[in-house]
Symmetry: C2
Subunit: 717 residues, 2 copies
């Protein structure tokens, strides 16, 4: 087994750093300080050309002066020094490096060349490295923090792999305030050698990481990304933020880490295929990741909402409901039980609204526990618990009334026992998410946070984190993806392509394209190609009226717009007439396709296209004349298992059209999925194809039938 | 002019409070403490049955012992004492009250009766009051805070009216950390006497309030809400969060303030009609409200992004782009100018990414000012500026290197002059929004906040606040709404309704319904009603083939499903055949409607319905068989000006169908808007109508034509 290089890189017994000195305003020094001050127990060797000691450690003048071969080298030096230094470490025998220095691929052509040199040296010596242009890593299990901001927190359970160093280090104090703690965090920079997919795989294998967050500006090996993620997501949640989907987003990413971005809607489909929960902001990446990393999984959709505040209760209920969670009305029995503990005017229905009430024990323990015990919910959201936060705030108002008792004494008069409150999720094996407008100044906020119960500063945030848990429940429970097994290449199909390529065609005509698809058992309309008007009539009669009459030539695109398509031809005269007008409008010898009309008002489109970084991808969407108005499409990377193909159907917003609808039967989902899967196989088996456009697929009764198709060939021959 | 009661209520020269004592754990005391400790300068009279002094103020044993008639009474007493106490204050001559006490409408029937009594007493004495079941008000201009949490902040410019007291008081410390300050905040509770619309109107008139936030669980007078908001929104931004749109949300609201909620999509339309910016969370209500309250308005869509951090830069660019703002590539000239000031490896394209760089002056002044001055942007988002926040955090790491210099001294070595940084928005009359992961511990965060420049703790949050500013720009610039002027009632239409009602009909048949609409010049299909087959054929010939042949009876609903509609009948036989089958399938005398077929593939629906709290509303949406699959509809409250009607068209997601599309011309927007406006007039002129369903409106070339209609009558006669 090829072990993931990060297992070694993240756990060095010794580190040599080049670029640290004794000037606290220098990046190298700031990063080295984090290593030696944040608790790392391994050996630390600063390399400095002149200094004798660096931040209290004996310094070595060159790589070759080191007393041992360090497990890991960290380079924080001017760009031109990176290549020779890595060569030195290679000679010495160091196998892992983190290259903080920037100025490579992200700076264009010159930088790209330098990055290639770096890669060559690494290959020569078998070095695996992170970066360049990254901020390093945090491994909280061994207290190793090589980033610029301090990370004094105890180990956490959220793993992060990020194409931005900012989210590994500049957010550390922000995360501390939120009570969110990393297990491991990895800044991948330009990903010259170790990429974000390696980081994802490593975090998937890391037992201390319970959920994984990804910050993505672009993926360069989409297929491997999906394969790696699909192995992880059935047992460990993965969340991702993708910011390369807009023009400005892609431009920003390119100048940042030189990453190639793709259309947002493609990534949306890829994330679904991979079983990854997509988020829209870095806050959600951290928050939802933290909820998933710390809380028992949701086993159902029923949420109990417990508050002392009507507005937040309504907001939580509304957000849960709108996102697909239920906030069920509590049974009479449960309400009666609750009423024993809450004020007489309080609401017991769910949300439980105790109204402004300072009995923290009832709000934090008695009510949530009664609700959890009832069997009527699968998770609880709690808003409004507070104690010392309010007292601190209010103390200047009440000091006199308390006879001048000190704030300290006031706070100590209320030493709650948090044991039961924080043990509820484990005890009842269901998630508890807390919302509070009070920060760690409040002892409830800090107690929950310090015991791995998420506290978010807004009721909707708590609800949305619970919705992320619901998303993960659905991902965990989705049918096994399965391994797509490519069929044999069809000799008929191969012959069709060969012939077209020999003729130098850029595409297949409709008739041939459908014959090609039929060779893989994709259902197409019954049809024949006519070269003369009598032949056309004879075919129409044999197929049965009504028929479609269309010009059929690889040279003619946009047939409909050119008036070369006649649908619903009801009799012989119709066919004669349309045949004649097609021949008149085109070169006389243009063959004419006579197809059986497929009746059905529900139309879909399918197709394939190449995307940089993802190879051939399959598209499925709403068809018909509304297709372009609705833009209701979804993507997956080929090849597809049947489970993956079926899941594409659930992505469409126009779900109603995929159910029984206005007296029409439910379309055959398996048959549609079959078409999508076969398209995915075809583009893998025949790399000569650059694009397939199947439009429309008409649902006739319940059966999908391909009524038109275009196959475009690559230009490379 | 009937003055808004809140002008007086919010500015009392003297306050009497019943319910405050000397026990600091009681609501009444906590609230009274806020009044006397937070700087209110007026007279304060506690009323207490036994105490001689209350929190240091002389107490009065009863209302009638007061030394003067207080401007305002605050009641924080058990529910059963509220009515007699208000009566006492009425007798004394007090004209304004805030009733904190709950236990009224929100507790069901009994409570509602008590609330009615309260109203009667208020009417008797001409008292105007807030509540019951509210938390009171904050008027920061006179340092009056009667809520439970302290409000020591200096006056701000964001006004809030809330159906939840939580958002007026329990968030005060949270808002302080965010640097957000209220001008006025009003908790409206059950709105028995003064409602959230009065509060909105008052805040609209208040010169200290620059933007208004509304937290809404339900609106009971929709028409007045719209009228009041429409007067404010062209010159002052109004934002709203609505949480009553889901089952659980509505249930929670009902138990909270007894408010009646309506479907989410209705409120969505009402907010658009009113020119209100809708937000989805309380954080956005505060954040976006604060940006709008403090920043110069956006004059265009071009945003400059300035950061020292690639990831946040990409995220900001992506969020801006996705929401409709431009992040334009900077000109060569501007880039050259910027390159003079930023590190050589930094990106100058926009986003400007200085990379990790601690030169705060360049990041906070030089670069943003260069960008603002350039004429290439209309607003700037700045991420990553920091100084003392990082130093505080890093100090334990660098203390030794600094030779043990104290933290205080380190912080004081960097006393930046913020003057230029915080003056940029005013100087260049464009918004500046800052994103930082550092809280007020950082001197930049606090300096920006204290100078009314918003700082949000996430790059996407800064971008989304800028998008709210873009929304407001669009609202400010939308065509003047105008006053809808109802036409004369049509005698033809009135006669049709009278006749139907005399006959006891519940609805009009299609023919009559369309005649009714035609009486208001709504374009309908050419058609005639046939009672015999020859007559049918004759009409078809005179209208011209193809025609539609349909059963026409007020008794028959769902004609299509019953097989009583024959479209596209092409000749005399077709008509004979369909006429005969209709007569066979129904009672023989059922009249048959012969209509000219309208050709056109684009179909829309329109209609009217009654919604509690909003009266008659107009609906417009995508039609055809996809209508129910797409659910693409929008609402407005009747009557509509032509500008309001036209704006409905822009709400549809299927915008492409309202433009020129696949060779078809652009539909006549004015004609569609005309139909919507006429429908809105009809329901106002004829209250006997409970529902109109116009489906479909077919776009023929560019003209909208009503092809089918149903008019349902109210059951009240």
């Amino acid at each position: 087994m090829n072990m993931n290089p990060l297992h070694q890189l993240m756990n060095p017994r010794s580190i040599a750093t080049v670029g640290a000195g004794n000037n606290p305003m220098k990046m190298g020094t700031l990063q080295a300080l984090s290593i030696i001050k944040d608790g790392y127990n391994g050996k630390f060797y600063p390399i400095h050309p002149r200094e004798e000691t660096v931040i209290g450690h004996k310094a070595y003048h060159s790589v070759f002066d080191l007393p041992e071969v360090p497990d890991l080298a960290i380079l924080i030096v001017p760009t031109d020094q990176v290549v020779p230094l890595l060569d030195d470490f290679g000679k010495l025998g160091t196998k892992y490096a983190v290259i903080i220095t920037g100025g490579f691929k992200e700076r264009g052509h010159q930088g790209k060349k330098l990055e290639d040199e770096l890669l060559k040296i690494a290959d020569t010596y078998g070095i695996r490295f992170l970066g360049p242009n990254c901020i390093g890593i945090i491994n909280s299990q061994i207290s190793l923090n090589m980033t610029v901001f301090p990370h004094p927190a105890k180990p956490g359970s959220l793993g992060l792999a990020s194409q931005s160093g900012t989210y590994v280090t500049q957010t550390l104090s922000y995360l501390r305030r939120k009570g969110i703690r990393f297990s491991k965090a990895i800044s991948v920079g330009n990903e010259a050698n170790i990429d974000i997919i390696d980081a994802l795989e490593y975090l998937g294998e890391d037992p201390d990481t319970k959920a994984i967050g990804l910050y993505i500006e672009g993926i360069s090996d989409g297929r491997r990304f999906i394969d790696v993620a699909q192995k992880i997501t059935p047992h460990k949640p993965v969340l991702a933020q993708y910011v390369g989907g807009s023009t400005a987003g892609a431009r920003a990413g390119m100048s940042h880490t030189g990453s190639m971005a793709g259309p947002d809607i493609l990534y949306e489909g890829i994330f679904r295929q991979a079983g990854i929960i997509r988020v829209d902001s870095i806050e959600d990446l951290y928050d939802h990741g933290w909820a998933l990393a710390t809380q028992p999984g949701l086993r159902g959709k029923r949420i109990g909402v417990v508050t002392n505040s009507g507005g937040p209760g309504s907001a939580i209920a509304n957000s849960c409901d709108a996102g697909g969670l239920d906030v069920p009305l509590f049974s009479e029995k449960l309400q009666a039980e609750l009423k024993k503990h809450i004020p007489s005017h309080a609401a017991s229905i769910n949300p439980v609204d105790m109204t402004f009430d300072l009995d923290a024990q009832v709000l934090s323990v008695v009510v949530p526990e009664t609700v959890m015990k009832s069997g009527e919910v699968d998770g609880v959201i709690l808003h409004g618990i507070m104690s010392t936060g309010y007292l601190r705030d209010k103390y200047p108002h009440i000091r006199e009334l308390l006879g001048g008792v000190s704030l300290e004494m006031v706070l100590n008069r209320f030493p709650p026992d948090f044991t039961r409150a924080v043990s509820l999720p484990e005890k009842y094996k269901m998630p508890l998410i807390v919302s509070s407008f009070l920060d760690r100044e409040d002892n409830y906020t800090s107690a929950y946070q310090d015991n791995d119960i998420p506290v978010f500063d807004g009721p909707e945030k708590a609800a949305r984190a619970m919705l992320a848990m619901l998303q993960y429940k659905n991902i965990k429970e989705r049918p096994a993806i399965g391994q797509p097994v490519l069929p044999e290449k069809s000799p008929v199909a191969a012959a069709i392509l060969n012939q077209a390529m020999e003729k130098g065609q850029k595409s297949l005509d409709e008739y041939t394209a459908k014959k090609f698809l039929a060779a893989y058992d994709i259902p197409i309309t019954g049809e024949k190609l006519a070269y003369a008007v009598d032949e056309a009539v004879q075919y129409a009669v044999s197929l049965g009226f009504p028929v479609a009459v269309k010009a059929c030539s690889a040279e003619i695109l946009h047939k409909t717009e050119k008036g070369l398509v006649f649908l619903n031809q009801k009799n012989e005269e119709d066919v004669r007439c349309s045949f004649t007008s097609i021949q008149a409008a085109t070169a006389e010898e243009t063959p004419v396709l006579i197809s059986r009309m497929v009746s059905g008002v529900r139309e879909f489109i399918a197709g394939t296209a190449e995307y940089p970084g993802f190879g051939p991808c399959v598209l499925f969407g709403l068809g018909g004349i509304f297709a372009e108005a609705m833009q209701d499409v979804t993507f997956r990377a080929a090849p597809l298992s049947i489970a993956e193909s079926k899941e594409m159907l659930t992505d469409l917003k126009s779900q109603a059209l995929l159910q029984s609808f206005r007296g029409m039967p439910e379309p055959d989902h398996m048959a549609i999925a079959g078409i999508l899967q076969k398209l995915s196989f075809i583009v893998c088996l025949h790399p000569e194809i650059s694009e397939i456009d199947v439009n429309p697929i008409i649902i006739s009764d319940s059966a999908p039938i391909v009524a038109d198709a275009l196959i475009v060939l690559t230009n490379q021959q």
